[in-house]
């Protein structure tokens, strides 16, 4: 059991990081810390994807002339990580813009104070 955990250490680390990020996203009271939790989840997914493409003893996939493909690692998961990074950056930027608007409107970014002030405005 411990050997399988050590063998797939990157995937196990990715899953643990995902759990930490998810817990942050759910439990933090400050909205900025929730965004940080979301970013940790993203990084965990990138770690998992990038670690899937590694081949033992392979070189970076910049193919020299006439060499056989078995010398290089798998290039496909790196492309998937590129897509993921772009999505992560866009969502983080949009969430931060929304948080700035919330702060301008309500004057706070703590979730419980936000709830109080929003309810007071409803009354």
């Amino acid at each position: 059991m411990l050997e399988t955990l050590l063998e797939n250490r990157f995937s196990v680390t990715a899953v643990l990081l995902f759990g930490i990020g998810f817990l942050n996203l759910l439990l933090q009271q400050n909205l900025l810390k929730k965004v940080v939790g979301f970013n940790i989840m993203d990084s965990a997914v990138f770690l998992l994807l990038a670690s899937l493409g590694y081949i033992e003893g392979g070189a970076a996939p910049v193919v020299a002339e006439g060499t056989s493909p078995s010398l290089y690692i798998n290039p496909i998961p790196s492309g998937l990580v590129l897509t993921g990074i772009v999505v992560s950056v866009s969502i983080t930027a949009f969430s931060l813009a929304l948080i700035q608007r919330i702060y301008r409107r309500y004057g706070t970014i703590e979730l419980d104070q936000l709830r109080e002030r929003a309810r007071k405005e409803d009354d």
Binding site: M1, T4, L5, E7, N8, R9, F10, S11, V12, A14, V15, L16, F18, G19, F22, L23, L26, L27, S51, L52, G53, Y54, I55, E56, A60, P61, V62, V63, A64, E65, S68, P69, S70, Y72, N74, P75, I76, P77, S78, G79, L82, T83, I85, V86, V87, V89, S90, A93, F94, L96, A97, L98, Q100, R101, R104, R105
Partner: protein, 298 residues
């Protein structure tokens, strides 16, 4: 006992006694409530109780759900194939084809660049669209202070620019003067060299955006606006995305291997213009986020 009396006794037993012996009937003083709905204050109090009970249970439920999710994922992950084996199911004929034929089919010896710009180029077109839309939506969200009219916003920006001019940060400016030429040169190198070494549109564009951010932070947005005004910014961004869409639109019309003229193969395929287009869009995005969050507009 006569017969009438057992009939009477039966009737008394069936009817029941008018006045119960050891219970007293009381007459209600207050009138009955007309509706059974709670009054607004009671509703408010009940809502607050419910919210407090939910908030008490929420952290425990969150921890339990997260622990369950991590347990399920761990159980899945230890059953995955071993890390780094050459005969994993993920290393199938697609990656072998990409590695073997990317030099001749796309003109790029970097297999990842050939894959994202040529083999899976439509994905990267979607990426550029996502970046473009992200800047557009953040611009819409952060455009103006609430209730601040147009001229007040202009005055505030001019005041900030004047402050930046009067009190420059000497250390930042001197080190920026040293670093920015090298940063821009390196960004151009990474952009144009994406085919034969690690790099490409995304990394080159990010470094270029970083150079622009350093310039804006050291010398002020006003000086940057002299050669990279808002119009130029919008034009560059839109041009990058339109160029990419146009080039890939040609592929839709002529088919996947349709653009095989002599000039194109000597140029190394379409990778170079697409690299430039992607790099421009990414650089404008990175700089745009900095400008929007620092200032409120580009």
């Amino acid at each position: 006992m006569s017969e009438g009396t057992w009939r009477e006794r039966l009737r008394v037993w069936v009817d029941g006694e008018r006045e119960p012996r050891d219970r007293t009937l009381f007459v209600m003083e207050s009138p009955q409530r007309t509706s059974s709905l709670p009054t607004p204050e009671e509703h408010e109090v009940r809502e607050r109780h419910r919210l407090r009970k939910f908030l008490n249970w929420y952290p425990a439920a969150a921890v339990i759900i997260c622990a369950a999710l991590v347990a399920v994922l761990l159980a899945a992950v230890v059953r995955m194939p071993a890390f780094g084996e050459a005969d994993n199911p993920i290393n199938n004929e697609v990656s072998r084809h990409y590695l073997a034929r990317t030099e001749e089919e796309t003109g790029a010896s970097n297999a990842v660049t050939g894959m994202i710009l040529s083999y899976r180029g439509f994905d990267t077109l979607g990426e550029s669209c996502v970046l473009f839309l992200a800047v557009a939506s953040v611009t819409l969200l952060l455009r103006r202070e609430d209730g601040e009219p147009e001229d007040a916003a202009q005055r505030r920006l001019r005041r900030e620019d004047a402050l930046q001019r009067e009190h420059p940060d000497v250390i930042l400016q001197q080190s920026a003067r040293l670093l920015i030429p090298f940063i821009l040169l390196f960004a151009l190198y990474v952009l144009l060299n994406g085919e034969s070494s690690p790099g490409g549109g995304f990394s080159g564009g990010t470094v270029l955006g970083g150079g622009l951010i350093l310039y804006a932070a050291a010398f002020g947005f006003e000086r940057l606006g002299r050669f990279f005004s808002r119009r130029a910014y919008s034009a560059v961004r839109t041009f990058g995305l339109l160029l990419y869409t146009f080039l890939y639109g040609c592929y839709i019309v002529t088919g996947a291997n349709g653009l095989t003229s002599e000039a194109l193969t000597r140029m190394g395929g379409l990778s170079l213009p697409i690299d430039l287009a992607v790099g421009l869009v990414v650089a404008c995005t990175v700089y745009g986020f900095y400008a929007l969050f620092a200032r409120g507009e580009i």
